[in-house]
Structures are given as C-alpha cells and as structure tokens.
C-alpha cells in the first residue's frame, strides 16, 4: 500500500521504523484533547475547557456522550478567524470568566487543541495574565495541559491531563502522615473505576483515584438540575496527594514515559511508586493484589481470593470452548496488552494485536509481558482499520476483540465482535463493561465463551441444545 515516490520525510527518531504513508483509513485512535476532557471529568466540580474552535468541544462531547449516554459539558474559547490570527487571549479570558460565573466550578480543566497549539499560544503566560486581572472571577482553580491533536492519541491526552492535575494541585502534607493511596487507573470504564474502589475497600486501603468519573459519567436521574454532575475525586483529595502512602499507576506503556502523575509524586514528594499494567486478566490482577497487599501489609482478603477462585474454576469449565480460538485484538495499547495477556491465559491465540497508538514500546512490552505469545502473532502499532482489516482477512480469526469500530470488519468476516474499551456506541452500557479485576476477567470470559457458543449454534445445521 505504500508509495515510495511520495513518502513523507522520516524524522531522525523514526529511522528504521516502519512509516505509514498515505491516508490513515478508519483510524484506531482519537485525538488528544478528548482524553484530557475525560480525565478532567473525574475531578469533582470541574468543567473541561478547550482552547480552540467550538467544533472541537462539540465533536468531543458528541463522541463521549455516544459512549457514556450521560451529559458531558465542555466549554470552549470559540476561536474566530480574528483570534486565530491575533491570538486567543481575549476569548480565553472571556470564556474562563463566563464559565466561572455560570457554573461556579471548583476547577476549570483547560486543554489546548491543534488550533491553539499551531499558533503557539503561550498558555502559562495567558493564564498568569488572567490570574492578575482584578475585573474577573477567581473562584475556580485553573489547570491546563498541552494537548495538540497532531501529537499522540486520546490516551496520551488523558495521561497528560492526569499529570497536569496532580502536578498543579498536589501539595506537601504534614510529616509522618500516611495519606490515601494515589491510584492512576488509566483509560478504563466507569464500572472499572467502581470495581477498583471496591477492591481497595476490601484491602481497607483509603484511596484517591485520579481521575474518578464513575459517577460523573454514569449517574442516576436528577431531582434538581445539576450544573455539574456530582461525583469525582475532590480537589482537596488531590491536594493531599503529597502525603500519599503510595502511588500506583496502571499501564505498561504509560510506565515507559517519564513524565507521569506517579513519577511527579515520587520525585517531588518521595511517594513510593508502583507501576503495573491495567489489571486485566489473572496475572495482571495478581500484580495489583500483590501491590495492594504490600501497601496494606495484609493477606489477600477472603472475598478477593474467592473471586480469583471463581475465575480459575470458570477457566477450567470453559476451556474446551475457547482453546485454540484465534483472536484479533485492537484498541488502546495498554488495553490491548491487558486483553492479550488474558487471552493467552485462557487458551485463546491472539493472532493480531493492533493499536493506533505509536509509543514505539508496544511490541517490546507485549513480548516481555506475555512471553507465551506465539512468535507468529503479528503486532502492529500505529495501525488503522484498513491495516487491521487486511491483516485480519489473511489470518482467518474466530473472534474480534475491541471497540465498536471493528463492527464492519466483524460483519465482513462473519465472526463475533467482543466489545471492549472505548468507544462503544452500538451497544447499551459500553461504559459499564467491567474489564479489570478477577470479576472483570470472569465477565469477559463468560462473554467470550458465550459468543463462541452462540456462533456455534447459529451456524449449526443440527441445532445443539446442550453445549
């Protein structure tokens, strides 16, 4: 598919790496500011704010809402041609002032866009100027993050915003105070966040999760209008993270970058940092439990042991159905790593692992963490669905595992799609899919097995009633 005469210039860092010329066709990644907006939604009383065109806010809201089916407000500085040429100082200040007055937020989480990044807006300077103005409201704390969409994916934007939140807010606490554990859970579902809270509760570990959008993005009906939906980790709790007893950061790819929220807490406040993967599947959840056990200095709680037992039991019961099934896994890099590890545990063979992310560590981390992954498994980073489709067609897979964007491929290949990750906009409850913990693994396991059984019944000419 490449066109040698017109290959874009390859930067020095990219030498020797495979380049992807031509168009990205059906991307397997979203833009950075989307991730930042979701991360901000996990802080109580926060309004995300995009410095850029109003279309960015509209599109990102539209997209997050189609997954979560919840209100999602994002303000914007609504650039006009004038501000694009002369700079967005005025629209930024007006926007912040208007959001402060209308919503009375605790925090305004500002993220840049490709527009404001291209014209080189000096955000620290512009916000400093705002803070020095006497004619505007200063009730809300301001956090900002640089998220040009021409650099990285939605996951990078998410982690960068988490880093900014912690970096801007966390303060040194009193000596000898062992504050709650800081958990940076990664880009996971609302149900995942709730389950992580339950796990920490089982270990009797106080917890501050950054972010926690389990309620703001999955709430009940309202008795009265909530300008900002309730829930989320409070600004106070984030401030106190300087005295966290430990920090846990989920994501092996995340761990390959140095500037993370956890690294900041470790560097500045000497908080012990534990870097693990997304706790998907048995082994990765075991690692989380080991870390929680060591921080809490206690044995694994009986309920957690029991959940692990049920997972093992199910794996034994269902092995005959899943063994040797061939799967194509795609999505965010850390999500794919977790899912691949899990699939190998249950006897499914991942034949293609693909992600739109381009960390340059994806293949190495996968090989390292999932040593049993067959040599022949194709690993693609920077992939789009055109690549994934072409590869998958040649691999004759039994299953697709990933977000809703794989639907047309699944339809073409006539194989089931197990929906995981983000975005899921063709099923109910995409944000309530549980991926993490033993319980998450068990839920995924049942879903996978049942999809295989359903396909077996659907394609059988006999119609077996017992399977």
């Amino acid at each position: 598919m490449s066109c040698s005469s017109c290959k874009p210039q390859v930067g020095p860092e990219e030498e020797g790496k495979e380049e992807f010329p031509g168009p990205t066709t059906n991307a397997c990644k979203l833009c950075t500011p989307l991730g930042a907006c979701l991360a901000y939604k996990g802080i109580a009383g926060t309004i995300p704010f995009l410095h850029g065109s109003q279309g960015c806010a509209t599109y990102i809201r539209r997209y997050l809402i189609s997954h979560f089916r919840e209100p999602m407000d994002i303000a914007a500085s609504n650039f006009a041609e004038h501000s694009a040429v002369f700079g967005g100082r005025e629209v930024l200040h007006t926007g912040i002032e208007n959001v402060s007055r209308q919503y009375k937020p605790e925090l305004i989480g500002i993220a840049t866009t490709c527009l404001s990044e291209t014209i080189g807006e000096n955000m620290p300077q512009l916000l400093h100027e705002y803070k020095n103005r006497t004619d505007v409201s200063h009730d809300a704390a301001l956090v900002h993050v640089s998220t040009p969409s021409f650099k990285g994916t939605h996951v990078d934007g998410y982690h960068k915003a988490v880093r900014s939140i912690v970096e801007s807010l966390a303060e040194a606490g009193p000596e000898n105070v062992a504050g709650p554990v800081a958990l940076m859970p990664g880009f996971v579902s609302a149900e995942d966040l709730r389950h992580l809270r339950e796990l920490f509760a089982a270990y009797e570990l106080p917890l501050t999760m950054v972010p926690d959008y389990s309620e703001t993005m999955d709430g009940g009906s309202w008795a009265a209008y909530e300008r900002i939906p309730v829930g989320g980790t409070t600004v106070e709790a984030v401030k106190a993270l300087g005295s966290a007893r430990a920090a846990i950061e989920c994501g092996h790819i995340l761990a390959t970058t140095s500037k993370t929220a956890g690294a900041h807490l470790a560097d500045k406040f000497s908080v012990p940092l534990h870097r693990i993967g997304l706790p998907i599947g048995l082994r990765e959840t075991d690692r989380l439990c080991e870390v929680m056990g060591s921080i809490a200095s206690r044995e694994t709680p009986a309920a957690v042991e029991a959940a692990r037992g049920r997972l093992i039991d199910a794996m034994v019961d269902g092995h005959k159905y899943v063994f040797n099934q061939r799967a194509v896994v795609y999505g965010d890099e850390d999500m794919v790593i977790g899912l691949t590890s899990f699939l190998c545990e249950i006897g499914v063979t991942p034949v293609l692992c693909a992600s739109g992310g381009r960390s340059r560590h994806f293949a190495a981390e996968l090989r390292k963490l999932v040593p049993e992954l067959p040599e022949s498994t194709i690993i693609r980073e920077g992939a789009d669905f055109s690549t994934i489709g072409t590869e998958a067609e040649a691999l004759n897979p039994d299953l697709l595992i990933g977000n809703s964007k794989g639907y047309s491929l699944a339809r073409r290949l006539k194989i089931p799609l197990i929906r995981c990750g983000f975005p899921i906009h063709d099923r109910m409850g995409g944000h309530r899919i549980l991926h993490v913990g033993y319980r998450g693994a068990l839920a995924l396991y049942d879903t996978i097995v049942n999809a295989i059984l359903e396909r077996k019944q659907d394609t059988s000419s006999i119609g077996y009633a017992y399977l």
Binding site: Y59, Y63, I65, F79
Partner: protein
Amino acid sequence: MSDLSTTPPEGYDSEGYPIPTATQPDSEAMRAEMLKIYPQKTRRKREKQLLTNNPETPPEIGANTRTIPGIITQRGCTYAGCRGVVIGPIHDILHITHGPVGCSYYSWLTRRNLARPKPDQPINFLQYCMTTDMQEEDIVFGGEKKLAAAIREAYAMFKPKAIAVYSTCPVGLIGDDVHAVCRQAKAELGINIFGFSCEGYKGVSQSAGHHIANNGVFKHMVGLNDEPDKEKFRINVLGEYNIGGDAWEIDTVLKKCGIHVTATLSGDISYEQITKCHTADLNVVLCHRSINYMAEMMETKFGVPWIKANFTGAEQTSKSLRKIGKYFDDKQLIDRIEEVIAQEMAALKPVQEEMRKRLQGKTAAMFVGGSRAHHYQHLFKDVGMLTVAAGYEFAHRDDYEGRKVLPTIKIDADSRNIEEIEVEADPKRFVPRKTPEQLEALKAGGFNFKDYDGMMVEMKKSTLVIDDISHHEMEKLIELYKPDIICSGIKDKFVIEKLGVPCKQLHSYDYGGPYTAYTGAANFYKELDRMINTKVWKLITPSWKKPADPTIAMGKGIDSPTNKTIREVVAGMAKAWKPQKSAPASSAEG
C-alpha cells in the same frame, strides 16, 4: 380535509389540524425570568436571541451571531457543516480530511446519512474515514506532500470517480495550499479532485460550512454532464440528507405520483447524479438553511426555478405534492397526486387519530438545526400538540423571519470571510423552464417561487423563539414550561432526560426514523407516544419515598393545577412586571 370549502369538523382548524388543547403561560414573564440571571452584556445579546413570538409581524431576531466563549453551545464548526452535513453523504466519492486525526474520526458515519449498496458499486465509501493524520512535523514543515501522497494512495486503493479534500483548523493556519495540491492531483490522476477551505474557526457555526460546501459542489460538480434523465417531471430535492432513510421515503411517494427525482442533495446520492442535477425542471428546497445558496446559483446559471417544500408532517407532505403538481400544470399528474394523497391518508388516518387521542393537549419544545425546528412542528400539529418554544442552532434571520428580511441582514466579519461566488446565466445552457406567460399564470393562481416565510409566522402567538439556546435557558424552560417532550441533539439529550423530560434527538433520530412523508409521520407519532407515555417517568420515585413532587411529574400541560413552579413565578412576576399597554390581557391560545 383538503377541500377548504367545507367547514372543518369540530376541534380542527381551517387547515385541517386538530386544535391543541394545551395552553401557555405569560411568555413575556417567562422570558424575563429566563434572562434575569445574565450579566448586563450577555443579557443584551441574549435578549435579541430570546423572543416572544408574534406571527403577524415577527420581531427581529439576533440569529447567526457568534456564541460567547464559555457559554456552552450545541453548535458545531465550519468543517462539520461542510464535510459532515452537505458533502459527506455523497457515497461514491472519497472524502479525505486534511488535518490531525480527530476531525475525521468524529465525522465517521456519525450523521446517519444512509446509503444503500448499489449493484454497480460494491463499495460504499461512506464507511471509510480517511485522514492525512497530520503529525507535528507536518505542522512544522507543511502537510502538502503528505496530502498529495494520501490522495495518490487513496486513488490507488479505491479508484473513485472523485476525491474531496477538507481542511481543518491547522491547515489554514500553516498555509497549506490544498487547492493547488488538488489541481495537481487532478491533472495527474485524471479524476475530479477538489478541496474545501472549511477550517473550523471560520464563521459562526456549521452554517458557514454549508455555504462553503454549496460553493464547492456548484463549482466542481454541478453541470459536468448535460444529459438529462429520460423521465418526465424531473425535480431535485435539495437539503435532504437521508437521515434514517428520510430521502427514501420521500422518493417512494414522489415515484408513486410519477415525479422523477434527478438528484437528492445530498442524501444517498451518487457523483453522477450531482453532475447532471442542473438538467432537472424544478428544485424543491427542504432545508432552506443548508442549501438555499445552491438553489439560487442553479437558477441564475441554468434557469432551474426553486420552491420551498416540506415533507415532514402528513398535511405538509400533501401540500408540497400539490404544489409540485401545480408547477408542472399537468392534469394527469395532478390527478395522480390526488389519488396518492387519498390512498396514503386513508392508511395514515387511523394511526393519526389513535395517536391524537393519546397526545392531544401535550406540549413540545424544539431546538435543532436550521429547518427541523420548524418542519417538525407540523408533525406535532398533526396530532394536536402545541409547540411552546422553538429555536434553531445555526440558522439565520431569514429562517426565522422569512426571506423578505434578506435585504436587511447586515454583513459582518464572520459572514464576509465566506466566499460569495459570482454566478451568471450560462450562455448555452440557461433554459427558462417556464414562459413569462406561464409564470404570470402561476403567480396569478397564488403560486410563489422562492417562498420561505420562516418559522415564526407559523408559530402561535406568544410562544418562545430561542436562537442558539444555552444550558441555563434549557434548564429554565424545563422548570417553567415542563414540556412533555423536547427535541434536541445528543449533547442536550441526557441533561434533559436526567430532569425527567423525554428528549428526541432530531439530528440522529435516536438511531430511528424515517420520519418524512406518510409512513414517516406514522413512525414519528408512535415514537412520541412511546416516549411521552412510557412508564419509566412514573417509576423515578421509589415506593418508600413520598409521592413524586407533582411539579416533576410528567404529562400535565402548562396550566395544570399541579404545576406549582409556574404559578409561583407568574404570581411573583405580576408584582415586579407590568404588562405593556398594548399587550393582550391573556396570551392563552386555543
């Protein structure tokens, strides 16, 4: 009901609509209540965009003005209007978004402009979302080479008839010459390739993108093929994007009548159809906002006259069909149209009547689009519901007040930067469709061309008209009016439903539809019944709590004795607010 010489049956108005039984509160008081929170500067702006209606002399509305930064709006951007709305639905050309990954991803099948697989076209390009996926080095060193490579490769992969390229914000800023790249690629590959400068920061809303798209389609596609279709009574349906299959429904009815659609712009349309759409006999404009430019340009250059029509609502569909029949002035066609109307209405009537029983007296509010907030009022009217408030997201003054205000609309910085292309009559291909005598006769018979009177003349007196509604105003509207249903988009939907009011998305139709013509009307009535009368609203309060606050409960109409808030506000207002001398004592209608 078409025969105006008979008196309408009891409970129906002279046009045949059941008279709504719901009443309205004093809208001036409601308006003041909604505006009072704003600081002076913002209030001055919003006052012009939030009006109480007077259908006889619609007040001037401050539409198509920039949204104030930090006021969370439902509006989109220029790119969305161009790529997403107007051109995106063309299913056999490739669409390449030149920019970073987000914009293309967010416009990937999100608008539900459906297309059927065609026998001669195994690939439906709508399922492809292509982007140059610009990286930092492209921003620094320019993205033209990458774009050229993308076009070449896209061509190699799919061999399309044409490729359209869309610019996003950074492209305009770094100065990539998209049009030059497209020209070169066109010469090199020998297919039609053209670009759109639809950067998101241009214009007030997606409306600017519609205009840019119209210009591009007209310049690069319309008029390339002069071979007319063989059928008689050829029309184009302009401004119908086939959301949920709407265009198919309209097409079916037109076909039954013997009217041939050369092209629907741009729902389920092929490139070929666009290239010859100037050979049609008449342009029928549905969404005035997004496509009136095209209608005007085609008339000037090729002599195709245009009329405004509406296929949303049963009565409106019949009216529009008759109007088309009158234009062609053919006895056989007119008779056939009457037959079809009689047939369709006979099938629809029982459904309409059943739904009217369940829906009459209910109220609705609508904030959507540049024409739907107007057109859908007719569906509510069909079943005796009252629209208490409506407004557009991105329309201009003419969509509210009618085209008669066009000469008085001021050009501002935001409209000035959108190109107005100069169009002249084509020396060879301009063909007047009617002789001056025929035109005179049509006009004498009450037939009007270019006849859009806007939304306000068709709304009841003292209803609210709200342009680019804000979150705060929506919240207030729910508190004060408690409409039984609100129609809006995905960004509002879940806020509205959290407050216990059902919300129908009128952009994506909540993944339902079609809602046009007769079958579509029946679908919509049933959908209203399902949403308004569903049990879930009664289950919100658990049994161990006190009965639900009656002010939260649904389905009571505005002057219901249970509607406590509104009476309190009106009582409070009466003290603070004195009616103007000319104001009527009561604004209750019906």
